[in-house]
């Protein structure tokens, strides 16, 4: 009966209740959304790379290097010489090295030139290695291995031929039309930027750019005319490379050596350190977003309280009536609290459902455009705590109208 009374009373004031619910839903949506995306981004970034001790590229900021080499965000400032790569990777303290060559794309997905070592040594998440859902690593010059999402979105299967485009962006005017690549492998889903990457061998990258002048292919120089040999296609330049060391202890020494490399200016970064730099930078933004979400919530809860308080005036006779039929003043206090709580619960449901829906709609967009892999489990520990906090602050804010009712009830109407 208690429940029935409060829910019917709310229904009786549909207009103002609905607006209050909308205001609260929006604020809960923002609050949960900010927290969810914040934690998911962090998790997604942190799990993108593991086991890589150093990332080396042309001299640049550590964040920039990290972002373009691992997250495929932004563009490299410069290339480095193949010889540099060879000389550093021959250091006895280096266990393995993965060269990376970026700059081409396929239907908006970035193409990465690398060696077969990539599939052996690159790991993500909790030291998980890449695995193939279909096929095998590239062997021939014009073999290509697709990230799971590339294959899924573009509907490619093994054996299909694809054409790479020069430069980034999904609508490039200059295609490497003469040298189609054949899909030999498709990687299993990792939830990292690997899923959005098209992997080819360094030789493949070299081959399509041979005789290539920016913007045009030179007439009569099509490289398919004559058979290519891998040995002739040793790359001159690569974009960056990742290093795994034999001993963690050597990391700083090697880093210093690379930073002081005399033949060309290089930067070596520790991915973990660069990431924490990123978080430091994002920290201010995160806290600002949280603060805004919190303020929106406070204003919504105050709005709820104001709406309830205004309704008390209209309901004085109702209160008097309930008193006369024997309702204790405390019952009326609880009635108002329950109404507020109902509003807040409905708003939580709507806010959470809204967030869930918008994540479903935008997650593909986020993952292909920003490399962010946002999960759908909105109700993390933090967010559950936030929802509890919303309920508690509703009760506190509703204490103002509830106490007013209590006083009206005690005075005898």
């Amino acid at each position: 009966m208690f429940m029935r009374l409060s829910s019917k009373s709310l229904l009786n004031r549909k207009g103002s209740v609905l607006l209050t619910i909308m205001a609260m839903s929006v604020s809960i949506f923002v609050l949960l959304g900010v927290e969810h995306i914040r934690s998911q981004t962090k998790e997604s970034f942190n799990s993108t790379l593991s086991g890589v001790d150093l990332i080396v590229g042309a001299r640049t900021g550590s964040l920039n290097l990290l972002l373009y080499s691992v997250f495929r965000i932004g563009s490299p400032t410069n290339n480095i010489d193949w010889e540099t790569y060879q000389s550093i990777s021959s250091n006895p303290k280096v266990a393995w090295a993965i060269p990376i060559s970026l700059g081409d794309s396929h239907q908006g997905y970035r193409v990465m030139g690398t060696t077969a070592d990539y599939f052996e040594y690159f790991s993500y998440g909790n030291k998980r290695q890449l695995s193939f859902s279909k096929g095998k690593p590239f062997e021939e010059i014009f073999d290509v291995v697709l990230g799971s999402q590339v294959a899924k979105k573009l509907g490619y299967s093994l054996g299909e031929e694809i054409v790479l485009a020069h430069g980034l962006g999904s609508t490039s005017f200059s295609l490497h039309r003469n040298n189609p690549f054949k899909v030999t492998g498709i990687l299993a889903t990792t939830g990292t930027p690997v899923d959005q990457t098209v992997h080819v061998s360094l030789e493949g990258i070299e081959a399509i750019h041979r005789n290539w002048q920016p913007g045009v292919t030179m007439p009569g120089s099509s490289s398919t005319n004559k058979p290519l040999h891998p040995l002739e296609l040793e790359p001159e330049k690569i974009t960056a490379f990742m290093l795994g060391l034999t001993s963690r202890m050597a990391t700083f020494r090697i880093q210093r050596d690379i930073n002081n490399y005399s033949k060309e200016p290089l930067s070596a970064i520790l991915p973990g350190v660069a990431l924490s730099e990123l978080w430091q930078m994002m920290g201010l933004l995160e806290n600002t977003l949280r603060l805004i979400a919190g303020l929106i919530l406070i204003s919504a809860v105050l709005g709820l309280s104001a709406m309830m308080l205004a309704s008390i005036k209209e309901r004085e006779r109702e209160i008097q009536l309930l008193r006369v039929i024997g309702a204790p003043a405390f019952y009326l206090f609880l009635l108002i609290e329950l109404e507020a709580l109902l509003i807040s619960l409905i708003s939580m449901l709507l806010g959470t459902a809204g967030l869930y829906l918008s994540l479903i709609i935008t997650r593909d967009l986020l993952s292909s455009n920003f490399g962010l892999h946002i999960g759908l489990n909105i109700l993390s520990l933090n967010n559950t705590l936030f929802l509890l906090l919303v309920a508690v602050s509703t009760m506190i804010a509703a204490a103002i109208p509830s106490l007013t009712v209590y006083k009206v009830a005690h005075r005898g109407g």
Binding site: M1, R4, L5, K8, S9, L11, N12, R317, E318, Q320, L321, L322, R323, V324, I325, G326, A327, P328, A329, Y331, V408, H410, R411, G412, G413
Partner: protein, 232 residues
């Protein structure tokens, strides 16, 4: 004795110009009583301490001093919770208007009144409400409609049904006919009087409409009961 007031004095604790308490007059009653099953008509102008008197008798307000005895119980010695309980169990109350929660149906309204009494048993409830609503000529189709959508006459009849559900010994009616037209008023009055005699209920009927006085055996002027009213 159904009601016995002795040296009862009441003043609102709030400041006298508080707008929420339009009736800030002080109540002062030397000695006034109503015997069991008596049907008393009390008349007086509004602002004469009428609401305060009724609030004291129903235990919503507590007297500043003096003895308030209703149905043999000393209300002035009970705490707020006990008075709420007492009111739910023993006193039926009918107002001029707003007797019912407008957005609830007739059945829910009556059920709500039942909830605060000791007879709070859900199982036989509907069996009790059904004959009650039938007695008061409320068509079954209207039982679950929000009462705000029913006619005023119907609403007042449901109000009596609500007041009767807990089988009260004392029924307080506060200008219950003011919002009714002549026909409805006559019907309402005869139903009310029959009900009171049938169920041996003490009836305290407060109104300024002297034309209703002829239904009652005893007629009291509020001004004579309340000595404070003269001074104000």
């Amino acid at each position: 004795m159904a009601i016995q007031l002795k040296d009862v004095h009441f003043a609102y604790p709030e400041a006298p110009n508080n707008s929420k308490a339009p009736n800030n007059s002080i109540l002062n009653i030397k000695n006034w009583s109503v015997s069991d099953r008596e049907q008393v008509f009390v008349h007086g102008p509004s602002g004469g301490g009428k609401s305060t008197l009724l609030n004291l008798l129903s235990g919503i307000l507590n007297a500043s001093s003096g003895e308030v005895t209703v149905l043999g119980e000393r209300l002035d010695k009970m705490n707020a919770r006990q008075r709420d309980r007492f009111r739910a169990n023993h006193i039926g109350y009918i107002f001029q208007q707003f007797n019912l929660i407008p957005y609830l149906g007739a059945v829910d309204n009556i059920q709500l009144a039942r909830q605060f009494s000791k007879k709070n048993t859900q199982s036989t409830l509907f069996n009790e409400i059904k004959p009650l609503l039938t007695t008061f000529h409320i068509p079954e189709a209207d039982w679950k409609k929000p009462v705000g959508k029913l006619s005023i006459g119907q609403q007042q009849r449901i109000a009596i049904a609500r007041a009767m559900i807990n089988k009260p010994e004392l029924l307080i009616a506060d200008e219950p006919t003011s919002s009714l037209d002549q026909d409805n008023r006559d019907n309402f009055m005869s139903e009310l009087m029959t009900l009171a005699s049938e169920h041996n209920i003490t009836l305290l009927f407060v109104s300024h409409d002297m034309s209703l006085a002829n239904y009652f055996g005893r007629i009291d002027a509020l001004a004579k009961i309340n000595s404070a009213a003269e001074k104000n």
